[in-house]
Structure formats: C-alpha cells, structure tokens
C-alpha cells in the first residue's frame, strides 16, 4: 500500500459500484487463496492478505433462503429479499425482480442482473445494483 495520499487507489466499495455502472458483475478475489470476498474490503478476511483484485464472475446462482417483507400497499407493498449462492461460490443479498414475492422458493435458479431500481439506498439514482431474475 502506498502512503502517499495522491496515489491511493479507488476505495474498494467505490470500485465495486463503478464496475456495476460499467455493466460488469465484478467482485473481489484473493490472488493467494482464490477466495471470493463480498462485500468489498481492503484486505482478505481471515488471512489479511493485501491481494484482493476485482474479477468478473458468472451470473448464475440458486436461492439459498428467502423472505417476503410484508408492508402496506400505501408504503409500497410486499417485497422479497433473498440470499443467493452464486455457482462460483460467493453469496449475494438481493431481490428477485420478476417473481411474485411469495413464489420465490429456496433452490430456485436465478441469474444476476445489473439494474437501476426504485427501492433502497440507490432508489431512482444512476447507480445500478445487483438484483436477480428467474433463470
């Protein structure tokens, strides 16, 4: 790591969001251990290795678990939150966009999709996030 402020690289999370803006599903992987790391960090958890690099990953995965958060129609209605095990190993928090929330099931095959959304921290902004669609 450089000590000079001017030569600091893009911060891990900033780089993650930038790749999504470029339309690429990139997450960190440790060069030494090959382990995928998500959310974005400066060091590899556990080993402390300073060798995380962003790599593009395959978009296929399976729903590990799912819930329907119940909410009044006035507040926007029910929505789904899932954890998805990607075929290459990492796990993502997300939502399945094209299935009615109660019909999302554990084991369902899904594909990651990079989309601008109308909910959450990046609602109605230019920053797209990772969501899922039925495979």
């Amino acid at each position: 790591m450089s000590s000079a402020k001017s030569s600091l690289p893009l911060a891990p999370e900033a780089e993650f969001w930038k790749h999504l803006r470029d339309g690429r599903l990139m997450i960190q992987r440790s060069r030494s251990s090959g382990r995928y790391v998500y959310y974005p960090r400066l060091l590899c958890p556990g080993t402390g290795a300073n060798d995380l690099e962003f790599v593009e990953i395959d978009k296929k995965g399976s729903v590990y678990t799912t819930t329907v958060v119940r909410r009044s129609d006035k507040d926007g209605g029910d929505y789904n939150v899932v954890l998805v095990n990607m075929d290459e190993g990492p796990r993502f928090l997300g939502r399945v966009m094209d299935v009615a929330p109660p019909n999302v099931t554990i084991g369902m095959r899904v594909v990651a999709s990079i989309e601008k959304v109308a909910f959450g921290l990046y609602a109605n902004t230019e920053q797209p996030i990772i969501v899922f669609r039925k495979a």
Binding site: E13, Y39, T65, T66, V69, L93, I106, F119, L121, I129
Partner: protein
C-alpha cells in the same frame, strides 16, 4: 490454561421498572428506577456501587450517562456493545474486574422507551442491508427460519409451540406484559410480518428498564439475599451482517455454550432451568439445538407437545420471555433476572422446585454474537 472465573462473583440484587408502557420516561429514568429496585433488593446503597456496565440503543457513551445521572464516580466501567447479548457479556467482564480487585460492586443496567419512540434507533444499518431494504433484525431472522424449515422440516406449528409456551409461563408471572391466552392456531393465523415469521412469532415491543447488582462472593455472603453465583460464561462473535452468515441454521451459541459449560463444569443435562433470548420463535428452537438440549434439526420436534411449557420436561423462559414477559428493545438482562429468581426460589407460581443450576443465554443482532452464562446456588458452587 484460562484462569477459571467459576464462583468469582454473585448476583445479589435485581430490579426492573416501567415494563410495558412508561409514557414520558427517558431510558435513563427507567435505568434509574430499575437500579433503585435492584439496590433495595440487595440491601445496598448507591454509594456501594464502584463499577458500572450498561448500554442502550440511544447512547454512544452509556456508562458516562448512567454514572452522571446516578451520581456515581465508578472505579471501573465497561460498555461492550454486541446487541442484546451485551449484558451477559458485562456480567462476565464485571466478574473479571471484581476478581482482579479493580472494583467490588458492579451495576449492570439497561433502559429503553422503545414503545414510546417507535424506533429501535440502530444507527449503523449496514450498506448492503440498506441497498435491499433488509430492515434487520426481523427479516434476517426470517431468512434463518426459512432455511431451518427447508433443511429440517421445521413447521410453523412447531414455531408456534414456542410462543404458546412463553404465554403460558407469562400467565404465572405477576409482572408479565402479555397474558391473554393464545393457541397454536392463533399464532399461525396472525398476520405475516416477514415470512415465515408472523406477528405472534415476534417478541413484544415495550418500554422498560432492568438492573442487576454483582459483587464479590465474600461480600455476597453478608447480604440479605442468597447469592446467585457466576459458574461460567463465554461469548462467541462471528460477524455483523446477515449476508455474511455461513450457515443460517447454526448460531455462535454452539461455541459459547461449550466454553461456558466447560468453565462451569456442567453439561446441558445438569441445567435445571433455561432462560433464552427469544426475539423470535425460531431463536428458541435454534438455541435449544446449539446449547445441546437436542440435536441440530430436532429443535422443532423437541418443543412440541408442551415440552418447554409449564409442566413440561424442560422449563424454558419461565417468565414468559421476550415473547410475552417484556421486550424493551434488548432483552438480555432479563434472562439473568429470571435465572436469579429461580435460583433464589422466589419465582412464586412459576418456581422450578429445587432449581440449583440455571442457564441464561443472550443473542446479539442476527445470530452474530452469542453469550452463554451458567449460574448456580451456593449448593451448586460447592
């Protein structure tokens, strides 16, 4: 080899204040009310307190606020913040401080006006939880429950058994907030809040303060109540975010329990009465598995047929728990208060006859931090 803390402190006073609804009271008022009752219970004065532990959802410097409000200048203070398990962690840290001679009599306190404020006040919702509006903790526990049901066939009826048992115990406690009878059918038919968790699978949302006084075993012997000794305790901390939980059907309690049992020199089968942080019905089921009362995956079957209800084989949450006794945002301290009542033999209609060893277990965030404490009577200590 860790130096054992077994028997190095005792709970000598407990109190709670403003359970249910306490309009106008601040969290510090509720802490003060509970502290006064705990001191009265112990036969001690405010000036006897020379150590303070505690925390709330609202104070970044909780021990400073408590010390100032109560007019104490303690020799030692600590505010480890791991969520609802914090207060069990404080109990062990107080034991360490007392054993080291740093202080002698420690107040551990909590207060919340959650019901009035209508907000948990958690200020560090993690980035990715905010991106997807996973308003933890509740949907996080729902994700765990869904996975437990998928892997082990746990049913909503089995989850409901936990809520029904808690309500039956609460009916035996004069100060429990919720006592109206409920059935398994009522729980299943109550509105879904985050599938598969329905409203009656959830803990209460109440106001309230709680406090305990912990002191050295030597001093405890001279006080008016029979001492309830610290026999063992251990925490296990695995993370912070729901998305980082490796296996959603296993909590860090597997680790905290084995270390706590080891320090206390007991196993699950020696425990007479069990107090668990039951934020949701799935928590009780998973903790009974992880604490060794049944095998992994068998928690649902274990709680069926009223086994943890009054008159059942294993008394669990004999005050009614967070589901029916009270739940002012963080419940951990109440597990120690009810364990103390049972070991003193002062639990009235809900008293477990001859209880000598109690387990109190606290959870922090969504199965992120777990703390297991083993407590015992004078007879259990020797």
């Amino acid at each position: 080899m860790t130096k054992s803390l077994r028997g190095k402190s005792a709970i000598v006073g407990t109190g709670y204040y403003g359970l249910g609804s306490a309009p106008g009271f601040t969290p510090m008022d509720l802490i003060a009310g509970a502290t006064a009752r705990a001191l009265e219970d112990a036969g001690l004065k405010m000036q006897d307190i020379d150590g303070i532990c505690g925390g709330t959802f609202y104070h970044m410097f909780p021990t400073s606020s408590i010390a100032e409000y109560l007019g104490i200048r303690p020799k030692w203070s600590d505010c480890d913040q791991t969520g609802g398990s914090s207060f069990l962690s404080h109990f062990m840290q107080a034991t360490m401080a007392i054993d080291a001679g740093i202080c002698e009599t420690v107040l551990i306190a909590y207060g919340s006006n959650l019901r009035q404020m209508r907000t948990f006040g958690i200020i560090d919702l993690t980035t990715f939880d905010q991106v997807y509006e996973l308003m933890t903790p509740m949907p996080g526990f729902a994700l765990c429950a869904a996975r437990h049901m998928h892997e082990f066939g746990t049913t909503r009826e089995q989850l409901a058994e936990v809520a029904v048992a808690a309500r039956k115990w609460a009916q035996l406690h004069p100060d429990a907030v919720k006592k109206d009878p409920i059935t398994i059918e009522d729980v299943i038919r109550s509105p879904m809040v985050s599938d598969p968790i329905s409203r009656l699978d959830c803990c209460l949302v109440t106001d309230g303060g709680a406090a305990i006084i912990v002191t050295s075993p030597e001093r405890a012997k001279d006080l008016k109540r029979p001492p309830v000794y610290f026999l063992g305790g251990a925490g296990a901390l695995w993370g912070r975010e729901v998305s980082q939980i490796a296996d959603m059907t296993v909590s860090p309690a597997v680790e905290s329990a084995s270390r706590a049992y080891s320090m206390a020199g007991v196993t699950a089968s020696d425990v007479d009465v069990v107090q668990l942080y039951d934020a949701f019905t799935i928590n009780t089921i998973m903790f009974l598995e992880d604490l060794g009362f049944c095998k992994k995956g068998e928690g649902g079957a274990f709680v069926s047929g009223g086994r943890i209800a009054p008159g059942g084989e294993l008394p669990v949450n004999t005050n009614g728990g967070g589901l029916s006794f009270a739940h002012p945002g963080m419940y951990g301290l109440f597990t120690l208060i009810e364990a103390t009542a049972q070991l003193r033999g002062t639990a009235g209609d809900r008293q477990i006859k001859g209880a000598e060893i109690a387990l109190a277990h606290g959870n922090g965030n969504v199965f992120c931090h777990e703390f297991t404490s083993i407590l015992g009577t004078e007879a259990a200590l020797t």
